[in-house]
């Protein structure tokens, strides 16, 4: 039994790893968003599902192209992060956008917001939100045209309408605000995947249970929006159930790469995102502020990480 006969592998400790790796986490995110995709298709038609698929495929395509140009191995695609970006971007698009919108959006998200910085882990802004922000400022008309939910199996609805936040903010006449129940189940106009608060909450809780999402971010984010609305004298329940808050709070603001490392930092992140969201909603020119609220906090994350450090064991007080 000398080593010439038996080749032993030598490496330094630890010798075991937790099973769950990055691609596992990303797959769980996709899994937890499936209900939102189904309800989006049910409300706004098969065309919405097509948009989701185009968005995912084009995200993977752009990621592959970028990896080839950067001379990186293509197995990196197996981390599923491009699929998550494509899916998240699609869920933030209005249901009837032209098919090229997700293609352009994912190109910006993957190439400009992620790969030029060095790929997954090196980007400092949430790629899906950068893609959405780019589309919103380049084609504001397309990105703010909404349709009525129709329910059932059909191609696409063509009854245009406005989102609850726009109705409330701009005091649009001829529209009525949905009640809390409709807001909760998602029976209202909006982006493909943002409407059904209850299903997004379910998916989010799944990710918290799987320890992929830190509950502190969505909790502090939504609570801040609630409290701030209350203080300003707006209907807090309407404010948290409308717009893309749940989608953003559970699935965008919790992106590992672009949020703080420490749990205390994540609470600050959530509160900050909540404040910016509310400021834009109440005093900005857009009816919704989730996208920019999170992006601003993404940009502040390195600063948060610089100042918020965990308490060291046995730290001697100076």
């Amino acid at each position: 039994m000398r080593s010439e006969e038996t080749k032993l592998i030598v490496s330094s400790s630890p010798h075991i790893y937790e099973k769950e790796d990055v691609s596992y986490a990303m797959k769980q995110v996709v899994f937890s968003l499936i209900p939102a995709v189904i309800v989006g298709t049910y409300l706004f038609g098969i065309y919405s599902l097509i948009i989701v698929l185009i968005s995912i495929l084009s995200a993977v395509f752009w990621e592959g192209i970028s990896l080839i140009i950067r001379k990186k191995p293509l197995y990196i695609l197996g981390d599923y992060s491009a699929i998550v970006t494509g899916l998240l971007l699609a869920l933030t698009l209005p249901p009837n956008v032209p098919f090229w919108i997700p293609v352009v959006g994912t190109a910006v998200a993957i190439i400009l917001a992620k790969q030029v910085f060095g790929g997954l882990g090196e980007n400092f802004l949430n790629p899906a939100l950068v893609g959405r922000a780019f589309l919103l400022s380049s084609w504001p008309q397309i990105m703010t045209s909404w349709i009525e939910p129709k329910k059932g199996i059909f191609w696409a609805s063509n009854v245009t309408t406005a989102t609850p936040l726009a109705i409330e903010k701009l005091k649009l006449s001829g529209y009525s605000l949905p009640n809390y129940w409709d807001l909760l189940i998602g029976n209202r106009a909006g982006c493909i995947g943002e409407t059904s608060v209850i299903l997004l909450l379910l998916g989010g809780l799944w990710l918290i249970y799987k320890k992929i999402v830190d509950w502190r971010i969505p909790f502090s984010y939504i609570l801040t929006v609630f409290m701030f609305s209350l203080i300003v004298g707006k209907d807090p329940i309407f404010q948290i159930l409308s717009g893309g808050l749940f989608l953003g709070a559970f699935f965008m603001a919790t992106d590992w790469v672009t949020t703080p490392l420490t749990s205390q930092g994540r609470v600050i992140f959530g509160i900050g995102a909540g404040l910016f969201t509310i400021v834009i909603r109440f005093w900005g020119s857009y009816p919704e502020g989730v996208t920019y609220g999170i992006l601003v906090m993404n940009a502040l994350t390195p600063l948060i990480d610089k100042f918020i450090k965990p308490r060291k064991f046995g730290e001697v007080k100076k």
């Binding site: 490496s11 630890p14 937790e18 790796d21 990055v22 790929g119 997954l120 590992w256 064991f313």
Partner: protein
């Protein structure tokens, strides 16, 4: 009793069922024994014997006149065959004394007289423990006589016996507490008497709850048994003290600084056995386990037994072996040669089959923060690793890299499979060697 607990830690699969129900067996004397001169933390011993010398069981064969070292002894009677360089579990070549046993197992006639320990003065006990070559059997193998000789300005009030055995797979401490509870308690009493403290605590993890009643049969009012949550690294000295007493060993300090001395339960048994038989530390309990051997079990082996004898005793390799690890899967050392002998710090031998040993290609850090959440020292492992990777050692030191206890929790949890601990180790070694210069 209130449990304070500690922040961080991980819950790797325990895998203790492989061996936890098999009683400790005595391994027969092997055909050759290699006693390495570096068995412990501290200075290596110098051989006191020459080739062809006859040695008795328990005869001192190596020592050095410095404080932080522990002598080595012949585990059985026989002839010194060779003194030369042998592979050490750490991977280096170390001076060792090879003994060919004569099978008679004759005990050294000049062993210290068996005198009840309470008739000895504390200084005499410390001297006896030193001469018996007793070191910490939990893994680090720090000489016990050094540990129990605190400087006079440090007021010690508690001795903790570490029975947490938080490393997955290993069950030897569990078996020792189950099979030799009276020796565990006696060892603790000897330690308490020697250091002059009135409070002794035995800390046990919840998954070993059944030893508590056994131990309680022998304890008195001065000794408490504390059941701790099962969490790695519960058995880390600093975290055991924090969990039980709520005291935090200051950064860069020792348990002495908070009035505590921690010893492994196996060490306590070794001390108690020494005062019963007069024999020095020439054998120890180990767990031989893992999916890579046929019958995992707990063994009492002579120090110096080549590891292949231990593997044979467990029925040999099951399939092709991938890794043979001295210690547990979290902190153990993978060895490359099956002639490497068991040393005083070897708490177990873990064999992974080839299928179990996977290589993971690390990807970029995704900043999930899991390493920060699990670090029991409150460090930011991912940032430390990045600093070392970029050569920013000063930044790494400022961020507390030297506080790292190398438990490997960060490395275990990392979803990007980054070699965080490896980088941190490199950084620590670099910083310390620069400091020395």
């Amino acid at each position: 009793m209130k449990i304070y607990g500690f922040k961080g830690g991980v819950h790797p699969p325990e895998n203790k069922d492989f061996s936890k129900n098999s009683p400790i067996e005595k391994l027969p004397i092997p055909e050759r024994l290699i006693i390495l001169t570096q068995q412990h933390t501290g200075a290596p011993c110098e051989p006191l014997v020459k080739p062809k010398d006859h040695v008795f069981k328990g005869q001192k064969i190596g020592d050095k006149q410095v404080f932080v070292t522990a002598p080595i002894h012949a585990p059985t009677s026989g002839v010194v065959k060779k003194i030369g360089l042998y592979p050490h579990p750490s991977g280096r070549l170390v001076l060792g004394i090879e003994i060919e046993p004569d099978g008679k197992d004759e005990v050294f006639p000049d062993l210290p007289k068996n005198k009840a320990w309470h008739d000895l003065a504390p200084e005499e006990i410390i001297q006896r423990i030193r001469e018996a070559g007793i070191v910490g059997l939990g893994g680090a193998a720090f000489p016990t006589h050094v540990k129990i000789s605190p400087p006079s300005e440090k007021k010690i009030d508690t001795i903790i016996l570490n029975g947490s055995e938080c490393e997955p797979y290993l069950t030897i401490d569990y078996r020792i507490m189950l099979e030799k509870p009276e020796l565990v308690v006696e060892g603790l009493k000897i330690l308490m008497y020697t250091v002059g403290v009135k409070r002794g605590i035995i800390g046990v993890e919840e998954n070993k709850r059944d030893v508590v009643d056994r131990l309680k049969n022998y304890t008195d009012s001065e000794i408490e048994i504390v059941v701790l949550p099962t969490k790695y690294p519960q058995g880390s000295e600093k975290h055991l003290i924090k969990a039980i007493l709520g005291r935090e060993v200051p950064s860069g300090g020792l348990p002495l600084d908070v009035g505590v001395i921690v010893n492994n339960v196996g060490t306590a048994v070794a001390i108690a056995e020494h005062f019963r038989t007069g024999l020095p530390l020439i054998s120890r309990g180990i767990t031989i386990t893992g999916r890579g051997v046929y019958s995992p079990k707990n063994l009492d082996v002579l120090i110096g037994t080549p590891v292949n004898k231990v593997i044979q005793a467990a029925g040999g390799f099951k399939g092709t072996p991938g890794k043979v690890i001295f210690g547990g899967p979290m902190m153990g050392v993978a060895i490359y040669d099956l002639e490497i002998p068991i040393i005083k710090g070897t708490s177990g031998v873990l064999v992974f089959s080839q299928e179990e040993v996977k290589y993971y290609e690390p990807i970029e850090c995704v900043r999930c923060g899991k390493c920060v959440d699990v670090c029991p020292m409150g460090l930011i492992p991912t940032t430390l690793a990045k600093y070392v990777e970029k050569g920013k050692l000063i930044d790494a030191e400022e961020l507390g890299i030297l506080d790292c206890i190398e438990c490997g929790s960060c490395n275990y949890i990392c979803p990007s499979r980054r070699p965080l601990l490896q980088w941190i180790r490199i950084g620590k070694i670099d910083i310390l060697s620069k400091r020395r210069r």
